[in-house]
């Protein structure tokens, strides 16, 4: 039984090529791996190696022939025996198709195949069929915020620490890793006291080596541990962004659901004060762009505690964008032991009928201040605290815009492709007919952060700018 040798595709784009030279002649013995011919592709001259063994009985395409189609027979081999030589090329019985058969056509045992596929992917819970999009935005009425009962004043810093402590007590797989998190008690004192309670195995000081320790934490998460990686600030996560995106966010998909990555990346995001361009950047837009990541940005102590707890429990990689200026601010925070804020739910911090202001992180402070100012002028603003950047609570936003008919977004990030852009576009897609004015974005100026105090102030959004924006959309 003979085997046909086919014109191979030697690059992803090759459809035909020139048979430049035969290195074996009719009658020659051929072993696996022998170079039998040279072929000029669209990119280069390549060598063709034999896969099957036997004697070259016939050359079908003379050397020098141009335009030989991929998969057309170029020679015949008299099979030297062996269990598998017959079927080595599907053309052995002359039924060789010019092009690969459509995959589904030649599948007598689909059920078996599906079962096989199921067997490989039994470890992680399978993701459910989901399609994102703004189509259903606004259809569901926003669920009311749960009342968690008594509260007590607490700083954002304490709330973050408590969230980690509670989850670490509950689950030994949770640990904290980062620069200065242990003995120094945290560069911003977020991890104060955690080393004392949990010891050096679970509160781990790393060297200044973001790329390395992020990769290490992601690898640990792939085995089922639940790392919390603290970046002193998110600016330094740029050193490690490949591991966050290419390894943490994509592996579940690339593994067909086998290998999840339950990990939290957290730290201070955005501008602090007078630390200039390299230390004052908002990463919300960067990380929110990536399927496979969740991104949250707490504003209050309750947000911080509830969202961080949810992030640690989440089986997916979650980015927690904190704000250094807010760390020392005090808010009332529920004292209930099981208090948690679900990821994906925005919170209406202030109700109003005239305009919807969507903000996140420290911009919520500015938006609320603007709303106070606007109220004095007779404009009632509704302020929505996003809390979760991805997934975005489109329902709450759209429901609000359908009542107010006006949208202003506020954030400290740069204007180009920022979160306000996404919010506005989703509103346009879902509630265009309800809009009485084009949405307006108030955001950081499109410049690297300057150092000089006056310039820095100019670079960041202000309450006055928000008030102006609201007046524009309300035509006041």
């Amino acid at each position: 039984m003979g085997v046909q040798i086919l014109m191979p595709a030697l690059s992803p784009t090759m459809t035909e090529g020139k048979l430049a030279k035969w290195l074996k002649q009719e009658g020659d013995a051929v072993k696996s791996g022998d170079v039998i011919a040279e072929i000029e592709t669209d990119k280069a001259t390549m060598e063709v190696e034999a896969v099957d063994e036997g004697t070259l009985t016939k050359i079908l395409v003379a050397e020098g022939t141009e335009g030989v189609s991929v998969n057309s027979p170029i020679a015949e081999l008299d099979g030297g025996g062996g269990a598998a030589s017959k079927g080595a090329a599907p053309g052995a019985d002359t039924a060789m198709p010019q092009h690969p058969a459509p995959p589904a056509a030649a599948s007598p045992a689909v059920g078996e195949v599906a079962k096989q596929a199921e067997d490989y992917g039994t470890v992680a819970q399978r993701g459910t069929d989901r399609k994102e999009g703004a189509a259903k935005m606004g259809e569901a009425a926003a669920a009311p915020e749960k009342d968690w009962g008594p509260t007590k004043p607490m700083t954002v810093r304490e709330a973050l620490r408590d969230a980690m402590a509670v989850e670490m007590r509950a689950d030994d797989k949770v640990f904290l890793m980062g620069e200065e998190v242990a003995q120094y008690q945290g560069a911003y004192k977020i991890s104060q006291g955690l080393l004392d309670e949990f010891g050096p195995r679970r509160v781990i000081d790393t060297p200044i080596t973001e790329h390395g320790f992020t990769g290490m934490a992601v690898g640990a998460a792939m085995t089922g541990l639940k790392p919390i990686v603290e970046y002193m600030t998110f600016n330094f996560s740029m050193q490690a962004i490949d591991q966050i995106i290419n390894s943490a966010a994509k592996t579940l998909y690339m593994s067909g659901g086998q290998l999840g990555c339950p990990i939290v990346f957290r730290g201070a995001n955005g501008a602090a004060a007078r630390v200039a361009a390299q230390h004052s950047q908002c990463y919300a837009s960067w990380y929110a762009h990536v399927p496979g990541l969740k991104v949250v940005a707490p504003w209050s102590s309750a947000d911080a505690k509830g969202l961080l707890r949810a992030a640690i429990r989440d089986p997916n990689p979650v980015i927690v964008l904190e704000n250094e200026i807010l760390y020392g601010h005090t808010f009332d925070c529920p004292t209930a032991e099981d208090f948690i804020v679900p990821i994906g739910k925005a919170k209406t911090e202030r109700a109003g009928r005239d305009v919807t202001i969507v903000a996140y992180s420290i911009a919520v402070t500015w938006a609320l201040a603007a709303a106070d100012e606007l109220a004095k002028q007779g404009i009632e603003a509704e302020v929505i605290n996003l809390r979760s950047i991805r997934p975005l609570d489109s329902e709450t936003i759209a429901a609000s815009v359908k009542r107010t008919n006006r949208l202003v977004t506020v954030e400290e990030g740069w204007p180009y492709a920022n979160i306000g852009t996404e919010v506005a576009m989703q509103v346009i897609e879902a509630a265009f007919d309800w809009l009485d004015a084009p949405p307006v974005r108030v955001c950081g100026k499109d410049v690297p952060m300057p150092y000089a105090a006056n310039l820095e102030k100019l670079a960041l959004p202000t309450t006055a700018e928000i008030v102006d924006a609201v007046k524009r959309v309300t035509y006041k």
Partner: protein, 342 residues
């Protein structure tokens, strides 16, 4: 024969006794495993030529002794992670040829249901953590697997493979530092096949002895004849024992060679045909093992039987990879996030 390198952490070692690192049965198994990888890769190359495999496809032909020798040192629970030249590693860990081949053809029966491809396959059951397409990224991930062993206080080790090209990446050295600092049980294995794509190691690395690249951190290192499964096994046992004893990381530089191009579309003009031919004729790991087996009393018929069995497995894999359907269109939207039960 393994040649030890002098490092801060390890004294020069030489083989003192002529004890064989593998029994005849073990060598027979290694021969079979190497042959299966070789035949699998040849078949993959053929399917690529037929347009059934797309994109990048990096073949492991020539380097088989490295993974087969190292795998022989492992215990259940040990982990393996590598780069995109990963088919051999998967087969060595015991992953099924059919599931790997069907992933190469992008079918539902593949290990990643067709969503990962040649460079992205995983099997937690077999301790195989990928399959990573970004050069060097798997090195810190591999340190993370070892971290997990450290954290759980298990005696397992992580085999972290990377090429000599990747060995110049910064995160490799970050990982060396972290692993040495924390005494993580990780064996860093540099598969030095002499070329990072088209750039020879001499043109890419100022380091002339990569086994010493961990020396500043006190990581003991050895250069190993990666074309000899015996030498690999022998060095591997030493490295694994070092890690299991809690002594921290170990570095093995495998001197090996890939016969094929970097990927399928590489014309390999950066080296001569004679150079490749010489390696094939004088140092082929499978031929070497075959000769040793014959010297030890195996018959041609014994080996022919293995050849036939391996060919049948690979052919079955190829058939499965063509008959398995493409993934359901719904798969586009699955496995992006693990959804909580709703």
């Amino acid at each position: 024969m393994a040649q030890a390198a002098e490092t801060a952490g390890a004294k020069r070692r030489t083989r003192t006794a002529k004890e064989a690192p593998m029994t005849r049965d073990q060598l027979l198994q290694a021969y079979r495993d190497m042959l299966q990888i070789r035949r699998f890769e040849e078949k993959a190359g053929q399917l690529y030529g037929m347009g059934l495999i797309g994109g990048f496809c990096h073949l492991y032909i020539g380097q088989e002794a490295v993974v087969v020798g190292m795998q022989a040192c492992l215990e259940p629970g040990d982990q393996v992670i590598t780069s995109y030249r990963d088919h051999g590693h998967m087969l060595a860990t015991g992953m099924e040829a059919r599931g790997v081949m069907a992933e190469l053809t992008g079918r539902a029966g593949g290990y990643s249901r067709g969503k990962g491809g040649s460079m992205h396959m995983f099997s937690r059951e077999k301790g195989f953590y990928g399959g990573h397409g970004i050069v060097g990224a798997q090195v810190s991930l591999g340190a993370g697997l070892a971290f997990s062993n450290w954290y759980r206080e298990s005696r397992n080790v992580s085999l972290t493979y990377f090429g000599e090209g990747a060995s110049n990446q910064g995160q490799v050295y970050e990982s060396f530092n972290l692993a040495a600092l924390m005494k993580l049980p990780v064996i860093f294995i540099i598969e030095n096949n002499k070329y990072g794509m088209g750039t020879s190691v001499e043109r890419a690395s100022a380091s002339r002895d990569l086994s010493k690249n961990g020396a500043p951190w006190g990581i003991p290192g050895e250069q190993v004849d990666g074309m000899s499964v015996m030498a690999v096994k022998e060095a591997g046992e030493r490295a694994v024992a070092h890690c299991r004893a809690g002594n921290g990381p170990y570095l093995l530089e495998m001197k090996t060679y890939r016969y094929r191009g970097h990927s399928m579309s590489d014309p390999a003009k950066y080296r001569t045909r004679e150079e490749v031919q010489k390696m094939r004729e004088q140092s082929d790991p499978i031929e070497t093992a075959r000769k040793m087996l014959l010297e030890q009393g195996a018959t041609e018929a014994d080996l022919k039987k293995i050849d036939d069995e391996v060919k049948a497995i690979v052919q079955e894999a190829a058939d499965f990879a063509q008959s398995s359907p493409e993934p359901d269109e719904k798969e586009l939207w699955t496995d992006i996030l693990i959804e909580e039960a709703r």
